[in-house]
């Protein structure tokens, strides 16, 4: 670059304008020109064999640098290819250049309307999916052979057997915590033995079903959504439909039935482990005998409590499997859609679990 006072700056490119040259231009030459824009900028292209995107950008930047003083840009010694490119480029560079997606202008009413419409559609789909799951279960009740037994057993294994270690560990710890925390209070009244009743009642009728359901929602609800969602994307569900299969009967029914059978059993396991946790605290910290602890536990529990917990587990199982499959069938788009479906399956399931648990609590209080 050579400068002749404030009036004329001459820029001569030493060769083809590539990325390093463009970078040097933007670091050394452009700041100088922008600081003191000349009346006329002369760009000598004699050494430039051709002009590509880097070259065009360089010229555009130079032009902008002198724009503040309404300076004139003159390009000299340009070859034919460069002249042609320049002629075609003007309109392109005048257009908007952006890398980011441009968000449409924010309109509160439009946005609100969109959300309402989307949620109404979602609700409609959810309702119709309840119907289609019921229909599928009805078909299986009429013709049990239409249930895919192999898939149901695999699902039972995945939902139940594979979850036993984690459910057992969590419940054992829950039992320990409840026993330990409650013993701090009950000890003051010399009511140590009632720790056993508290652990048993809290776990069997309330925490056992909920904790199990939350673990199942996290492990299996998300996996239902992801499995069915990827099948949706790879057109496997379309293929099933075209072959005359009912996708709900084929994919959702085995999972729903497996969950309904296995989750109550898993809940029983959870209860057992929690009571064992309480027993550990009772025997080693509260100095109770194992026999006294167990008999107090059995005294506190009625069959009704156990069945009530199992009933909850059945409903939670229905909710988790239904939500997981629903979110899977709703997947649109690509991999991101599958991820979103898995997340949404877990969040929606946990919300429904808590909602239905409160309904159970209300029913119980008016019983």
């Amino acid at each position: 670059m050579t400068r002749k006072g404030d009036d004329l700056v001459r820029v001569r490119f030493p060769g083809a304008i590539d990325m390093p040259l463009l970078s040097a231009l933007s670091q050394k030459v452009l700041p100088d020109i922008s600081k003191r824009p000349p009346q006329e900028l002369l760009i000598d292209m004699a050494q430039v064999p051709y002009l590509d995107d880097f070259g065009l950008t360089a010229l555009f930047e130079l032009k902008q640098a002198v724009a503040a003083r309404r300076g004139r840009v003159r390009i000299v010694n340009a070859g034919r290819q460069i002249r042609e490119v320049l002629q075609n480029a003007q309109s392109r560079l005048d257009g908007e250049c952006r890398l980011e997606r441009q968000a449409p202008p924010f309109n509160l009413f439009e946005r609100f309307g969109e959300i309402v419409l989307r949620e109404v559609n979602n609700l409609r789909y959810m309702t119709s999916f309840v119907g289609s799951v019921c229909l599928a279960l009805g078909k299986i009740a009429i013709n049990p052979r239409s249930l895919r037994a192999g898939d149901t057993i695999t699902a039972m294994e995945k939902i139940g057997v594979d979850a036993v270690p984690i459910v057992g560990l969590i419940s054992l710890l829950m039992g320990l915590i409840i026993a330990f925390m409650s013993s701090l209070q009950l000890r003051q009244f010399g009511a140590d033995l009632y720790v056993a009743s508290l652990v048993a009642l809290a776990m069997v009728s309330e925490l056992g079903p909920i904790m199990t359901a939350i673990v199942v929602a996290g492990r299996s609800g998300s996996s239902f959504a992801a499995e069915i969602g990827s099948m949706r994307i790879s057109e496997e569900i379309d293929a099933l439909f075209v072959m005359g299969f009912d996708p709900t009967l084929f994919l959702a029914a085995p999972r729903v039935i497996a969950a309904v059978i296995v989750v109550p059993l898993l809940t029983l396991f959870a209860n057992f482990f929690a009571i064992a946790g309480g027993l550990i605290v009772g025997v080693f910290i509260l100095d109770l005998t194992a026999g006294a602890y167990v008999s107090q536990t059995l005294e506190a529990l009625s069959l009704f409590e156990v069945l009530w917990g199992m009933l909850k587990a059945v409903i939670f199982a229905l909710l988790i499997s239904w939500t997981g499959c629903l979110r899977g069938f709703q997947v649109r788009g690509g991999a991101a859609g599958v991820g979103a479906a898995a997340t949404s399956a877990v969040v929606t399931s946990i919300f429904f679990i808590i909602l239905f648990d409160s309904i159970f609590a209300v029913i119980r209080s008016y019983w």
Partner: protein, 252 residues
């Protein structure tokens, strides 16, 4: 060809995705025993037509009659009667990932509920032999190459010897030799079994190789811009876009 019976009639089909109209008032017929190619530029609505023809999407307007059954009207009874007569090869083959190749091909046969497991096993094996896949019968789809997946998909689509076969981009993503193989299989099925075949593709070599007739879809026109044999469209079409499309080989 024209003297043959119409097996598919599409009348004034309009397709929309949300507020976007993709196809407007298109009508065409498919004749029994022909290979009809639905061609057109990218995102012109070719696959949309196919999805409507196989009942995956309900049209916004119009009628589709396949072998005398209106698959749009009513509660879907017409569609349910039609599905056993058709086979579909999806673009990505859509083999069920949790099942082996043989189990995938057996699916339509099991669905019919008319055959014993032993018979199904034999039929599936024979089908796989025909497609050169017998040694892969207990492979999962994920272990197959693109060409094998297409052949397995075709074997499944043909499991019930359907009267009409729909193929969505059968040779997309395959090398020229594999594409030619798939073309040969399509021609063979058409000639041997007199299966009516509707193919969605924009692969020119395939079109010239297999098509009896071509329907050309225009993106801007949202409908059919030309109908004819590939040769006719290449030389005689009044639409410069159609001639350009079919002459790509010369202009490259």
């Amino acid at each position: 060809m024209q003297a043959k019976a119409r097996i598919i009639q599409v009348e004034k089909l309009t397709a929309r995705y949300g507020a976007d109209t993709v196809l407007e008032n298109i009508s065409f017929d498919v004749y029994e025993g022909e290979v009809l190619v639905i061609a057109g530029g990218s995102s012109s609505g070719k696959t949309t037509i196919l999805k409507h023809l196989i009942g995956l999407v309900r049209p916004h307007g119009g009628r589709i009659i396949i072998d005398g059954q209106d698959i749009v009207a009513g509660d879907g009874g017409g569609l349910q009667k039609t599905l056993p007569k058709i086979g579909v090869l999806f673009q990505g083959s859509a083999l069920l990932g949790s099942m082996t190749v043989a189990q995938n091909v057996a699916l339509p046969l099991r669905r019919s509920g008319l055959l014993s497991d032993d018979m199904i096993r034999k039929i599936v094996y024979l089908k796989l032999c025909k497609f050169d896949l017998s040694q892969y019968q207990d492979y999962l789809p994920s272990a197959l190459s693109g060409g094998m997946k297409k052949r397995a998909g075709l074997a499944r689509a043909l499991a019930l010897n359907p009267r009409i076969l729909f193929l969505d981009e059968p040779s997309a993503g395959l090398d020229p030799i594999r594409s030619a193989e798939i073309d040969a299989i399509i021609k063979d099925i058409n000639q041997r079994l007199n299966t009516t075949i509707v193919v969605v593709t924009h692969e020119l070599d395939s079109i010239f190789n297999i098509a009896h007739r071509v329907i050309m879809i225009g993106k801007e026109q949202k409908g059919i811009i030309a109908v004819g044999t590939p040769g006719q469209l290449k030389t005689d079409s009044a639409d410069p876009f159609v001639r350009q499309f079919f002459s790509r080989k010369e202009t490259v």
